[in-house]
Amino acid sequence: MHAEKEILFRDSASKALLDPQLRANFRRAMDGLITKRRNQFPDPRDLQDLRDLSTAIRSRSLLSLPELLEQFEANCTKNGIQVHWAETCEQANELILGIMQAKGAKTLVKGKSMVSEEMHLNAFLESKGIEALESDLGEYIIQLDGETPSHIIMPAIHKNKDQIARQFSQKIKDAKYTEDVDELTAMARKVLREKFLHADAGLSGVNFAVAETGTLCLVENEGNGRMSTHVPPLHIAVMGLEKVVARLEDVAPLYAILTRSATGQAVSTYFNLISGPRGTDEKDGPREVHLVILDNGRSRMYADPQLRATLRCIRCGACMNHCPVYTRIGGHAYEAIYPGPIGKILTPQMEGVGVRHDLIHGSSLCGACSEVCPVEIPIPEILVRLRREATHEDVGSNVLGRGTGRTAAEDWAWRIWAGVLKRPALYRVASWFATRFGKALPAGAPLIKNWTRTRTKPVPARRSLSERMRAEGGSHD
């Protein structure tokens, strides 16, 4: 989906910073996740070995993506899974609507799926008179409040227990107020059980798609994914086209590093392998399985050798857990489906670098994200590349909106900057003035004003190093 209006990250981030409860919620949650992940990888060499292997598997899969997708489609079809392709989110939505209408399906229970968030599927189905209910507990919580996920793994991580208790007591029929976590969970379970039993269709995402077997792999902890894909007569899965790997044996290492990086679990509670509809001799399972494969800008990323690395992502969320910016503002401030570091490179590539110019600059390039990424996506490098795309039309790429984030003022600033710094004589004069009069610069001057909101004004030394070395003489070659 291509956004029309420029979205200013700085504004929404500043607003988020003003909410101390939110900041505390995120800091506590992220610190916990960082610790849990660290405990899963006591030996740095083992971790690196597993990262190398995972990166290699994802890179290798992407290298032959078109062939793997074809093989995957053929094997899915052989297994009785009906495969559909969608270039845009609109197309994907229409496809799902069509599948449901053909079966006269009116209600849908959903397992967690970021791709369906990308498509704004719930709102679309509701506008067509179909009820779509989120069955992942976190997703259920935010759906009750009409919110979007603030984290790709833990969608309701921005809320604390009290907030959820209040919300449940108001929004769930016949619910009483309680802050007991078990009771709260039981409340949601009661509602969801009903829905699982009577929904016409179930929807799920896909963590890994195996080409050689035509299998969909689903990682989950609550069992709701299994209920969504197994109980209703119709199962619809959605996935981005990058999710495919060649062999079943590719899945094991990716799975191992996914759960460890995400929640610090060695394994998840459930791991579902779905290879088709209910067989003739089977007692349960859906009668029909459909798979919608979405592009939404992914083939554009695929076509670019550097940006392709973006598609290695296995959506573990470790980059956001470790990101000092995300930790302080939470996911909603990004005003994007995918928040945090991966969102900062994914969103501009999906929506255009111009409208997302400010988002690309919302990073100190500290590299905490790429340091933990299990598939070694060089996020800072890609960010810098996208900054270049945003300000230059002529990089020779196919990035959406390239050059549209450019301003005359910034152009001039860099030209002047380079003009001075490539001429030592000019720099010498400039630095002479800076050291003599730098103190006199008002703290309210542009740029300095931003710096001095929380800091004192930096004051240059009285004599620069070059000047001192010149005075010392002797040491020149």
Binding site: A368, T391, P424, V459
Partner: protein, 247 residues
């Protein structure tokens, strides 16, 4: 040992040049103390990192080229900055990829070292502490560690000082919020990050926060000063020099 270099170039970097000249001088003295002759070519300005990080590569290249030209001889180039060393060592080859002078720039990049890296890994210096007992803390700059790949060399040097206690920060690897233009483009987030870093440093009970990066030092120092904290910041070169030479 005979294979240790006896002559090196020193690259001051713009932040050290303007804001931390004492650190630059100290770096040069430390090298001399280790028996190395230091050449400081005139005409040094900036490594070009700000423009590179913002996507203005032509401008970054213009500036980078004038800098590379200052270091023609096959001598190590030593920088008292992890971030700028990372730029010159790791990002120059990327910046000059496909340019006519790529090979020349690559050869230059291969000669680049951050100061503590050179002192430990190449010169294997042994320091003798002449100072009073003091407790310090160390801020590892993101670029020094994650870009350049510093592997605890500064901490190793501090560890050689018998009267210095090193108290670790509780979130060692978290960015201080400087990030070059990030600090002025996103002042609100950057401000919160640097306040947290300052508080973390204060909580260690150290009296000095050390780093090898001028940007981080400027950032945290400004924050500490704004809250009138007794904690002060210092570049590691200056600290090491103060402690190891007789006054």
């Amino acid at each position: 040992m005979s294979d240790k270099p006896t002559k090196v170039y020193f690259y001051g970097t713009c932040l050290v040049d303007l804001f931390f000249p004492d650190a630059g001088m100290a770096g040069i003295q430390l090298l001399r103390q280790a028996g190395v002759e230091v050449v400081f070519p005139e005409g040094q300005t900036c490594c070009g990192q700000p423009a590179f990080n913002c996507g203005y590569w032509e401008e970054a290249r213009d500036v980078a080229r004038t800098q590379v030209a200052l270091f023609p001889k096959d001598l190590p180039v030593i920088l008292p900055s992890g971030s700028c060393a990372g730029m010159m060592k790791v990002h120059y080859p990327e910046l000059f990829h496909g340019q006519p002078d790529e090979a020349q720039v690559r050869a230059f990049s291969a000669r680049v070292y951050e100061l503590t890296q050179f002192l430990v890994d190449v010169l294997d210096v042994k320091l003798k502490d002449l100072g009073e007992p003091v407790k310090v803390t160390w801020h590892s700059s993101c670029h020094a560690v994650r870009d350049l790949g510093l592997k605890g060399e500064p901490q190793a040097l501090i560890g050689q000082l018998s009267n210095v206690e090193l108290a670790p920060l509780s979130r060692t690897h978290e960015c201080c919020g400087f990030g070059g233009t990030f600090s002025v483009r996103q002042p609100e987030i950057s401000g919160v990050m640097s306040c947290d870093k300052a508080a973390d440093a204060e909580a260690t009970g150290a009296s000095v926060l050390l780093s090898t990066d001028g940007g981080c030092l400027l950032n945290v120092n400004g924050t500490l000063e704004a809250k009138q904290s007794p904690l002060r910041v210092q570049h590691i070169a200056e600290f090491l020099w103060e402690r190891t030479h007789a006054r």
